[in-house]
C-alpha cells in the first residue's frame, strides 16, 4: 500500500482566515455546519488564555495551537475509498492552515492530549531523523 498526497493540480486556496476546530467527539455526518451562528458566538477567552465554548450543552475547553515554523497544516480529501488494505490511496490537499483550535470536553488541553504531544515532540524527532547529517 502506498499513500499519495496530491497538491499540484487542485487549487489549494491558501486561506489564512480558515478556522479549524478540532472537536472532542465523532459526528456521523459530513456536511456544512452553521459554525458562525451556533458556535463562534459563544467562544469566550478565559483569564488563563484558554477558551470556553459549548457543543450541545457539553462544556468545552480549548486552546489555539499554532503550527510551528517550517510546517503547515493541510486538509486532505480522499475521493475514492480503498477497497482492501493493499490498495494505493490518493489524498488531495483541499485546504491549508497554520493554526487551529483544539477543544477538549471539560478538560484543559495539555501534554496529556496525544495530538499536542505529537506537535511538541514528533516534530523534533522528525527533524532529527530527516535532517541531513553534517559532519563536524
Amino acid at each position: 500500500m502506498a499513500i499519495h498526497i496530491q497538491s499540484g493540480k487542485t487549487k489549494a486556496c491558501h486561506n489564512t482566515q480558515l478556522k479549524i476546530q478540532y472537536m472532542p467527539f465523532k459526528i456521523a455526518a459530513d456536511s456544512e455546519a452553521n459554525v458562525s451562528s451556533y458556535f463562534d458566538k459563544y467562544v469566550k477567552l478565559k483569564e488563563d488564555s484558554n477558551y470556553n465554548a459549548s457543543f450541545r450543552g457539553y462544556p468545552l475547553t480549548g486552546k489555539k495551537i499554532d503550527i510551528p515554523d517550517g510546517y503547515k497544516g493541510v486538509i486532505l480529501h480522499e475521493r475514492i475509498k480503498p477497497v482492501t488494505d493493499k490498495d494505493d490511496r490518493n489524498f488531495y490537499v483541499i485546504n491549508e492552515f497554520n493554526s487551529f483550535m483544539y477543544w477538549n470536553w471539560d478538560k484543559v488541553p495539555s501534554k496529556n492530549d496525544p495530538i499536542l504531544q505529537t506537535i511538541d515532540d514528533w516534530f523534533d524527532i522528525a527533524e532529527a531523523l530527516h535532517s541531513p547529517i553534517i559532519e563536524q
Binding site: I27, F39, Y42, W105
Partner: protein
C-alpha cells in the same frame, strides 16, 4: 462596599428590569441586588429565598431573595405577597412593581442562571447536579445580602429535596442565623412569596426579551412556556433542531425532552467515555489465582514485547512502507 451588580442599572420599574436583562449576555449568569434600605442594616431582618424555572426545558433558572425588617413585615401583606401560587403573569408584575415601590423598606436580589450554565454543569465529566447548583445559588444570595450589610436574623428557604437535610446543610454554613427550610414555603411565609415573585418575574421577563444569539427571529410566543407538556414548546423543539448543533442555547440540552428530540432528529454524536479510561484493568494484570496454576513455560516467552510508553502515548507506531 464594592458594586457586585453586573452593571450599574438601578431596577426601579419593569422597564428597568428589561433593560438590565437585555444588557446581560444570556449565555452567562447574571446577578442583581437592590440597594439595601438603611432600616435593613439596623433592624433585624427576615430573608426569604425561592427559585423559578427549575423544571422547564427552556430559559434560565432564577434564584431570588427578598428581605425586610421583622418589625415591618406586615408591609408584605400590604404588597399582596401573601401567596404567590396561582397568580397570573400580569398579577405577578403588579406585585413586583409594588415591591419596587417599597425599596425604602424591602430589598431584593436575583441570580439568573443561564440555560447554558445549567447544561454545562450537568454535562461535566464530574456531574454538578441541579440541586447542587441550586444550593450554591441560595448560599450566594445569602452571602451577597450579608456583604451588602443586611442585618439578617431569620432565613426562610423553599426546599430543594428533603427539607431537614437542606436545613442542616445551610446551618452548617451559617450557624449564626435562624434558618427554616420548608416545603411550599412560598405560600407559608410572605417573605418567601416576595422572593418567589422576584424570581418568577425575572424569569418571565428574561424569556419575553430573549434575543437568540444564533440569529433566530422568534419571540416567547413562538417557543412557549418551556414546560415539557406545552405543545408550543414541543413544536419549537421539533422545528428548530439544527442537524449539527442541536438547539439554540435557550434550550437546556440536558433535559430528556430536548435530548430525545436530538436522538431522533440530529446527527449522531459520540463522546469519549470518561469511565472507560479509568475502569479498564491494565492488560498485563495477572489474577492472583493464576499463581497456583501450572503454566507451560513457553507462553511466557512468546509474549509480545511491549513498546515503550513514549511511543504509545504519542500514538506512534512502526511504519515501514511509504
Amino acid at each position: 462596599m464594592a458594586n457586585i451588580n453586573s452593571n450599574d442599572i438601578e431596577i426601579n420599574s419593569l422597564e428597568m428590569l428589561n433593560e438590565f436583562l437585555s444588557a446581560t449576555d444570556n449565555s452567562e449568569n447574571a446577578f442583581y441586588i437592590s440597594s439595601v434600605p438603611e432600616i435593613c442594616k439596623t433592624s433585624p431582618c427576615v430573608l426569604g429565598i425561592d427559585e423559578a424555572g427549575r423544571g422547564p426545558v427552556l430559559g434560565p433558572m432564577v434564584y431570588g431573595t427578598s428581605f425586610c425588617p421583622v418589625e415591618k413585615s406586615e408591609i408584605l401583606k400590604k404588597l399582596e405577597c401573601a401567596d404567590s401560587k396561582d397568580l397570573t403573569e400580569e398579577k405577578r408584575d403588579v406585585i413586583f412593581s409594588n415591591i419596587l415601590n417599597s425599596l425604602d423598606t424591602v430589598g431584593w436580589a436575583v441570580e439568573v442562571i443561564s440555560p447554558n450554565t445549567i447544561c454545562n454543569n450537568m454535562l461535566k465529566r464530574a456531574k454538578y447536579s441541579l440541586n447542587a447548583v441550586s444550593m450554591d445559588s441560595a448560599i450566594g444570595l445569602i452571602r451577597a445580602a450579608e456583604a451588602a450589610g443586611v442585618n439578617i436574623e431569620h432565613i426562610y428557604v423553599d426546599t430543594v429535596g428533603k427539607p431537614e437535610k437542606y436545613q442542616a446543610y445551610l446551618l452548617s454554613i451559617f450557624p449564626q442565623y435562624k434558618i427554616t427550610v420548608a416545603k411550599k414555603a412560598d405560600s407559608t411565609y410572605p417573605i418567601v412569596s416576595a422572593a418567589s415573585i422576584c424570581a418568577k418575574v425575572t424569569r418571565d421577563h428574561a424569556l419575553q426579551i430573549w434575543k437568540f444569539q444564533e440569529g433566530l427571529d422568534l419571540t416567547h410566543k413562538d417557543f412557549g412556556s418551556g414546560y415539557p407538556g406545552d405543545p408550543v414548546t414541543k413544536k419549537f423543539l421539533a422545528e428548530y433542531c439544527d442537524l449539527v448543533f442541536g438547539f439554540p442555547q435557550l434550550v437546556r440540552f440536558s433535559w430528556s425532552t430536548a435530548s430525545n428530540v436530538l436522538d431522533k432528529a440530529a446527527y449522531h454524536v459520540e463522546w469519549e467515555d470518561p469511565e472507560e479510561e479509568k475502569s479498564e484493568i491494565p492488560a498485563d494484570t495477572t489474577s492472583i489465582t493464576s499463581f497456583f496454576k501450572v503454566v507451560p513455560p513457553k507462553s511466557l516467552h512468546t509474549k509480545k514485547r511491549k513498546r515503550h510508553e513514549y511511543f504509545t502515548q504519542r500514538c506512534l507506531s512502526n511504519q515501514v512502507e511509504f
